[in-house]
């Protein structure tokens, strides 16, 4: 009993592989990276997982990049979301998601290999050797698995993010990080 309790206490929901699993599926599904279409560079996934999971991050991004400002019409940054000065709390919140993403990166490839072995995702080599692209083999999933009833919030989050940051599936990791974090004033470092 004691051990059961200990194990329960040691459970960290954010580190759960099933959590990663369904999040990846939802990302790929929303970005239509199904079958032949691939998601460029799996390293972007741990960061996106954060956004899928937490709608607060979506709010922060939304408020930071609202297009009711002149910046967009000026056409600066080629339509990319412009940073607005965030308050420190929001900035801190955003930064924590960045650091979470970094922390999960090593687990991500391991998980993707397992999922590939299970036949749920397809992995392919990218432009360079180290780059791995990902695609969702949707029909392999149980038919009701990606139910909106179960993952309604996650789908909504991802849909919103997709609107906020364009071409998420094809962006390089650097560009994506720039748009998600640096433009909002969150410092990132070279990976």
């Amino acid at each position: 009993m004691l051990n059961d309790a200990k194990k329960r206490l040691m459970y960290v929901s954010g580190d759960d592989f099933y959590f990663f699993t369904y999040s990846i599926f939802i990302i790929l599904d929303v970005l239509k990276c199904i079958n032949e279409r691939t998601f460029r560079d799996y390293r972007k996934l741990p960061f996106l997982v954060e956004f899928v999971r937490d709608k607060n991050l979506i709010y922060i991004l939304e408020s930071s990049t609202r297009s009711d400002t002149q910046d967009v019409t000026d056409g600066m940054n080629n339509g990319a979301p412009l940073s607005r000065k965030l308050n420190n709390v929001d900035k801190e919140y955003l930064f924590r998601s960045y650091s979470n993403g970094i922390a999960r990166r090593s687990e991500m490839l391991k998980l993707l290999f397992t999922l590939e072995k299970s036949g749920y995702v397809g992995l392919s080599k990218g432009d360079i050797d180290s780059m791995v692209n990902v695609t969702l083999i949707k029909h392999a999933l149980p038919p009701d698995f990606l139910s909106k009833k179960v993952f309604g919030q996650e789908f909504e989050n991802m849909q919103k993010l997709k609107l906020i940051v364009k071409r998420l599936s094809s962006l390089t990791q650097e560009t994506m990080l720039e748009r998600l974090y640096e433009n909002q004033g969150v410092k990132t470092w070279a990976l």
């Binding site: 194990k7 929901s13 592989f17 099933y18 959590f19 699993t21 072995k117 749920y120 999933l141 698995f145």
Partner: protein, 652 residues
């Protein structure tokens, strides 16, 4: 009555001197030719007795050159007044007379000498009256002669009868027109100097003892009347002032005013009591101040409590927001766990037999780790959970959530409680504030400045009224005093007037009898002296002579008429000791105004008739050479037949 007698006449000067012999007879005859100094001799006597002699003055018309040009010159008269010997010394051109008593002694040669060195005090008196009201020589003289110094009123003027006034019927001088009888006055100072009233008074004073009393009574009545009218004037004046001060107020006497004053005094006392009561009320309310302090500290405490509670509330809000955050996260985790369970159930990707490093399924013997070590299966810690375990986690999380909810509920309760406390404290502050306000207001009401001011105003008004009343009482007191003064003075005036009236009747009777007596004596003397005179009397009105019932007016007889008039006075004073005439006559060279020598002699012979009374008297008579009855020769004490034997002898 009093008497006057000249014993010696002395003139001393740097250039001239004259020493008369001692006059020890009733009749003193001085015979001299014209211009030898007969009139000068008389004038020396008159001057010595206080008269004004124009010849002795530098501004005189016919100055006597030897005397006015002489220096350090004076006249000494050795006189006997009513039995007392006096030396009267008067310097020429001076208006003071020194009076020194002297003693008559007989020297080695058997002659009389007058010694003034006996050391008896010398009196120096002025001749003229001054406003300083010091006694004059005349006053002294009249006092010695027993004649009152009477003050006469004429119109608004008053004057006193002087000795020189009496001298008008004593000094039979040469200068006066004899028809006027009375010697001409020396200097006419005022309109009244020679008035009939004055002349009559002179006459009356010289012949009647009662006249002095009567004139005194007149003076007294006049003075009392004057004093009365003065007091009345003052009263009237003051009444006008009092009316002015009284203003519109009705006339009230002192008694009423004083009772009014007492009423006001009582009002003042009441007002002061009321004022004190007010002040006492205020001191009772002194416990308001501690109450205020109390309320103030209560208010302060409540405010401090409120701010403390607010701080607490903020803390709890903070805690609650943290709890809500945790709750949110927990709820999120719970939903995530359900999704994980869903995924696990559907995909079943991981189990206890999944390699934590590569995530591949491994064949593991029970009781051993993936690495092969022996383990207690129950204690084997893995990264992967069974469905059962996930459900436990779910359950645990849910429980956590409810626990958090409990904490949040607690927080909410605490928030409510603190809010209630804050509200209570705030109410306390409001309450304390209201009470404080009420207390402060009440304090103002209690002190009631307006009422106090009203009382003070009333006090001031009453005091003013009292001051006014006191003023009026003072006025009334003064009025009463003045009225009393007037009343008293009126009484005095009435008494004096009655006395005067009584004396007037008495005096008029006496005058009538004295005038009758005078007329009888005069008639005898005149019929003897003047052959043409059948009857002679004096008028009752002005005491002037009426000869033959006024039909006889021969100017040549004027000297006789005048001389007999003087002589009648002398005779009366010898007959009746009540007559104040001082038994003294000075007659200067009567043979003027064309009198017949025979009649002159007849007149002079009448003087001899005085001897029959066997009483001392003195008549000093100067005549021209041989112009006197031969039997008078034995009375001749000085003989100045020519200028070599003139009166004034030049010093060598």
């Amino acid at each position: 009555m009093g008497s006057l007698r000249i014993n010696q006449v002395v003139y001393e000067g740097d250039s001239y001197f004259f020493h008369s012999p001692i006059f020890d007879n009733n009749l003193i005859l001085i015979e001299g030719d014209n211009g030898t100094g007969k009139t000068t001799f008389c004038n020396l006597i008159y001057f010595g007795l206080g008269g004004s002699v124009s010849e002795f003055r530098d501004d005189g018309e016919k100055k006597h050159k030897e005397i006015t040009r002489d220096s350090n010159n004076w006249v000494d008269l050795y006189v006997t007044i009513s039995g007392k010997n006096y030396q009267l010394k008067r310097y020429i051109k001076d208006n003071d007379i020194s009076i020194t008593e002297y003693v008559a002694q007989v020297d080695d040669k058997g002659d009389f000498v007058f010694d003034v060195s006996a050391g008896i005090t010398t009196l120096i008196l002025p001749i003229n009256r001054s406003k300083a009201e010091v006694a004059t020589f005349s006053d002294w003289m009249l006092g010695q002669l027993g004649i009152s110094v009477v003050e006469l009123y004429q119109g608004y003027d008053t004057f006193k009868i002087n000795f020189v006034d009496l001298m008008r019927l004593i000094y039979h001088d040469q200068k006066t027109e004899p028809e006027y009888v009375y010697k001409k006055i020396d200097v006419k100072q005022t309109y009244f100097s020679d008035s009939e009233l004055r002349r009559k008074a002179t006459f009356e004073l010289l012949i009647g003892k009662a006249f002095s009393d009567y004139y005194d009574a007149i003076v007294e009545a006049k003075r009392a009347e004057k004093s009365h009218s003065g007091a009345k004037e003052m009263l009237d004046e003051y009444k006008i002032i009092a009316n002015g001060m009284r203003g519109r107020g009705e006339i009230k006497n002192k008694t009423f005013l004083e009772s009014e004053l007492r009423e006001k005094d009582a009002i003042i006392e009441k007002l002061q009591y009321a004022r004190e009561s007010f002040k006492r009320n205020r001191s009772v309310e002194a416990n308001v101040e501690p109450a205020i302090e109390n309320l103030k500290s209560r208010m302060l405490e409540a405010e401090v409590l409120t701010s403390e509670l607010n701080a607490q509330l903020l803390d709890i809000y903070d805690e609650r927001s943290k709890l809500l955050f945790i709750k949110e996260n927990t709820a999120k985790e719970i939903t995530q766990v359900t999704k994980v369970i869903h995924t696990h159930d559907q995909l079943n990707l991981f189990s206890a037999d999944t390699c934590p490093y590569c995530l591949t399924k491994i064949e593991r013997t029970s009781g051993h780790c993936v690495c092969g070590s022996e383990i207690d299966e129950a204690k084997y810690q893995r990264f992967f959970y069974t469905s059962q375990e996930y459900k436990e986690i779910y359950k645990a999380k849910t429980k956590t959530l409810s626990t958090i909810q409990l904490a949040i509920d607690d927080c909410n309760d605490e928030v409510e409680s603190i809010k209630a406390q804050i509200k209570f404290a705030a109410n306390n502050v409001v309450d304390a504030k209201e009470k404080l306000h009420a207390l402060v207001n009440r304090m103002d009401q209690r002190i009631d400045i307006n009422s106090l001011n009203d009382i003070d105003d009333k006090l001031l008004d009453t005091r003013e009224e009292m001051a006014l009343l006191r003023q009026r009482i003072d006025i009334e007191t003064k009025l009463e005093k003045l009225q009393l003064d007037v009343d008293q003075k009126r009484d005095v005036a009435n008494i004096a007037n009655t006395a005067r009236q009584l004396l007037e009747i008495k005096t008029k009777d006496e005058i009538r009898s004295k005038v009758n007596t005078f007329s009888e004596h005069y008639n005898v003397l005149m019929t003897r002296a003047l052959s043409a005179c059948r009857t002679a009397r004096i008028s009752n009105d002005d005491y002037m002579p009426i000869i033959n019932d006024g039909e006889y007016k021969e100017r040549s007889s004027a000297v006789s008429i005048r001389l007999m008039y003087f002589l009648t006075m002398m005779e009366m004073s010898l007959v009746n000791s009540d007559v104040p005439y001082p038994h003294f006559m000075l007659v200067d060279t009567p043979e003027t105004a064309g009198i017949e020598p025979k009649e002159l002699l007849n007149c002079l012979k009448q003087i001899s008739g005085l001897e029959r009374f066997n009483l001392p008297y003195q008549i000093i008579l100067t005549t021209g050479l041989g112009k006197y009855p031969p039997e008078f020769l034995s009375k001749r004490v000085m003989f100045m037949p020519d200028e070599e034997h003139a009166l004034l002898q030049k010093r060598n």
